[in-house]
Each structure stands twice: as structure tokens, then as C-alpha cells.
Symmetry: C2
Subunit: 202 residues, 2 copies
């Protein structure tokens, strides 16, 4: 028999967490868990069905300490081939990822993997809603960054342009997401106000 | 340093595989890999963006045999909270799971978890396209089972009705999916012909 331990926080996330947590501002949670809380609220209130995908793991060895319990004894984290979150809202396919930065001036494009940009491009080309939620820790500000803005900077960077999106661009071309108690990060309101009015019908 | 082994087939899948493989009929692959091949074909031909979600794993212990390589040394399979596949096709949100049966007469409802039925219900209520791909091994036949048919049998079973969907129902109310070389299982053609014409616009 194997005694089950409570699930520890994934260790690779630790480095992404701020060293001193501001409990008043984010209730001690990470951006990702705030988004998961938000999605749970959307699901319960029947507003949207949006889930985080499981962390992809490459399983190498499994043992069977008891008859009907498989124990994975060797596995490795894999690079995800897509973004972390997807689902449906008002009939629209929604797809996004969350990123945070300590920088006060910009978010480095290196934080966003090429395969994630390619994936979001495919989604937007297919008529879906693709975006990033960006958290500027220094300002405690959250932004909805539409894919087209990200893609513009990505293409420029491939041609030798700057390798980051400046904070001013967020002020001008991204949409602030309010942090509140419930839902934590109401990004669907941004989609209602600014994105759906620009979408083509099927 | 840890020497990486090639990824073995997930062991828990073995029991689902037929004992004698018919290489002419399914090229020795499982239903799930046939669907994954199909999705890859759809992605490459820009027809749809549909992925299988990673297998959810509860990670209990991680070691660091080398500086930048995390090795998971204790983890367990978790029950998925949703279906295995989702994505976007012609602007529609698509969500489904694959099931196979050796039975010649019916597929037991026990093969489909309650949380999967609830999830598909949420998806269809939100304006998405939800379904199952069912493989009757005995006949080497694949079917697209619309969610509404599944849900009807599910509700009846809760009221004491039969605990399976009979094979005849597939003949009458499901849509056959052709198995071919590329794409392997062209389920989007079923959606084109029978599902999209019944969908409401946003």
C-alpha cells in the first residue's frame, strides 16, 4: 500500500512566485490559480465553460504497488504544444495563456513560446478568440492582450525589432482586467465589451 | 544524468487494446491514436485545430538529478474532469471523447463517466458541438454519436431504464464515420453534413 500525501505545490512554479506576497492584493495566490478560480465561478454561474489543460507529463516508468493502483515512478515535464486554457463562451471558442513579469517597463517576448504563438495564430485564423492575460507584478495590474497585438510584436522581433512588448503598449492597446473577489479576474467582460463586437458571424 | 528512454505506451491503455490486432483494418493502432492522426491531418490542412488534452497526473514528489532537469519520482493518474478532445472547427467549439466496445449488441453507459456527460451537457448548452466517437470492434465500425442521443439514454437509465445504448440505435440515430488512409476517421464530414445545418448562429 502506498500512503497518499497531500498534493504539494508544483515545484517548478515556485520560481515564478513573488518573494514577498502581498496578501491584500492577490490573496496569496498565483495568477494561474486566480484564473482557475475565475473559471470555476464562470462554470458555476453558467457563464462559460473554460478549463486549464493538465500539465503534460512524459511517463517513462509505472509500478503497481497494489492491485488497482498504478504508481508513476519516472516521468518528466514536457513542453506544452498549446496554451494552458481553452473553452467556450457565448458559442465562441476561447484560447489563452497567462504570463507574469516583474519588469516595470515591458514583458519579454521570450516569456511566450513560439509554439504558443503559432497555436494562437491557428485559433484566431479559425475564428476563435485568442489572447494572453498579462500580470505586471510591480504595478499589480492585469491586462487582456489581444493576439493581434502580440503577433505584431512577434513578427517585428523576427525582423530584428525589439524583443519585448513595452508597458506603454498595454496602456494603449491592451484592456485592463479588474481584480475583485468573485470572479477574481473578470476577463469575459473585456471580451463582451471589446472583442465580440468585432467578431464575424459564422 | 538520467538517460532518457523512449516513451513506452501508457500501460493502462493495454487492457483496452484488442488481443489480436487486425493490421489490415486499423493499421495496428488504437482508436485514440487514429483520432490523434486525424487531428494532425486536420491541423496540417488548416481544416480544424483540435487537440487531445494531456493525461492528468497528480504529482507527489519531484527530484532534481541534474541542475535543470526535474524528475517526477512519484505521481498517480487522476480522473479527467472533462473529455479528452477539444478544439475549433469553422468557428464552432468542438468537444468529444472516444470509446470502444467489444460487445456486438450495445455500448454500456458505464463506459461513459458521469462527469463527462455533465461536461458535454455544459458544452452543448453553451452552443458547442458535443459528441462521442464509438468504435464497435466486432464490426470494425465507427460512429459519431450526437450528445442528445447519449443524454436521452443517460436520463432514462437514471430512472431505471437500460444501462446501455443498443447497437440498433447506432444504425438509426448515429452517423457512420469512414475509416480511410488520410484522414483516418473523418468525423468533421459528419459535422458538415448533419450537425452544422442544425446549429443556431451566434
Amino acid at each position: 500500500m502506498t500512503i497518499k500525501h497531500p498534493i504539494p505545490k508544483k515545484k517548478y512554479e515556485k520560481k515564478d512566485r513573488p518573494k514577498s506576497m502581498s496578501y491584500t492584493s492577490n490573496l496569496g495566490m498565483t495568477l494561474e490559480s486566480d484564473v482557475e478560480e475565475t473559471n470555476l465561478y464562470y462554470l458555476k454561474t453558467k457563464r462559460a465553460v473554460i478549463y486549464k489543460k493538465p500539465t503534460p507529463v512524459q511517463i517513462v516508468d509505472v509500478s503497481y504497488p497494489s492491485r488497482n493502483k498504478a504508481k508513476i515512478v519516472e516521468a518528466y515535464y514536457r513542453t506544452p504544444s498549446t496554451t494552458d486554457f481553452n473553452g467556450i463562451y457565448k458559442g465562441y471558442y476561447i484560447d489563452f495563456d497567462c504570463k507574469e513579469t516583474k519588469s516595470t517597463t515591458s514583458i519579454p517576448l521570450a516569456n511566450i513560446h513560439n509554439h504558443q504563438i503559432e497555436h494562437l495564430k491557428n485559433i484566431v485564423d479559425a475564428g476563435g478568440i485568442g489572447f494572453l492575460i498579462i500580470y505586471f507584478k510591480a504595478y499589480n495590474e492585469y491586462y487582456y492582450l489581444p493576439f493581434n497585438v502580440l503577433y505584431e510584436y512577434h513578427l517585428k522581433s523576427l525582423k530584428g525589432g525589439r524583443k519585448s512588448i513595452p508597458y506603454e503598449t498595454f496602456k494603449e492597446r491592451a484592456y485592463p482586467i479588474k481584480f475583485s473577489f468573485n470572479p477574481r479576474l473578470d476577463y469575459l467582460t473585456v471580451i463582451d465589451e471589446y472583442i465580440i463586437p468585432t467578431m464575424e458571424k459564422h
